[in-house]
Symmetry: C2
Subunit: 157 residues, 2 copies
Amino acid sequence: MNESRKEFMREAIRLSIESVQKGGGPFGAVIVKDGKIIAGSANSVTIDNDPTAHAEVNAIRKASKILKTFDLSGCEIYTSCEPCPMCFGAIYWAHIDAIYYGNTKQDAKAIGFDDAFIYQELETPKNKRKIKAIPFLRDEAIISFELWDKNENRTDY
Amino acid sequence: MNESRKEFMREAIRLSIESVQKGGGPFGAVIVKDGKIIAGSANSVTIDNDPTAHAEVNAIRKASKILKTFDLSGCEIYTSCEPCPMCFGAIYWAHIDAIYYGNTKQDAKAIGFDDAFIYQELETPKNKRKIKAIPFLRDEAIISFELWDKNENRTDY
């Protein structure tokens, strides 16, 4: 089992190294189901002009497409670096079972990535954050929630 | 100015309502630059089988494609609901200037969405979280970070 785990993580690491060589960010991730890698990706933020294209998000999107479901229960993710809050959230929404990670958010900070800062902002009171979050028109926005709540044909996720 | 803001938020709300009517999640978001909406999207998790396809992530991806950049500095986001940690992270990585939101994470919780739970997990020590995060092979993973750090031709983001 531990040998398989090493193999999975080494594929994530291989993707992260290949990515740097191709001019992308130094991150890779794979999704594993039933003891097999079903999808893998490097970070492609600068290559795809997509700030959300982190390795974990890319790998989750690929795996979901392959499995034709938004629910990745029963899957594990192996990522070359500890997930940032965006990827952490994506992993939770995908209902992935476990996270294996190589580098830490402190390692990421040391080479200039903002992960640790975003974690810090989440712990900061809203009115003291770098990006202001302003509540607005809740009385109108709530209508869609009421419609959702009453909709008996909705697809929960 | 306040009238424009209302117009932007009402478009995000309109997208959220339309989404419920089409069978999707009750969320909408628009990206605004120089006083104009440049991209908008509803949540499409269940329609696209993509757990990362929240309204904010979709809108950021669209805007980045339109502007041909991963850096949305100078843009604001209007979202029908307070961003979840995934979308919060995406907004930070995109360098968006400000967030206007309608419904709160408590409103989202009241109709069955996990946002508040994921925020709670972020505050929970790693070994007590629902999804275990296990450090693994850092000594091998660090190689791509060293390569990145030494690469003078890299594109920072």
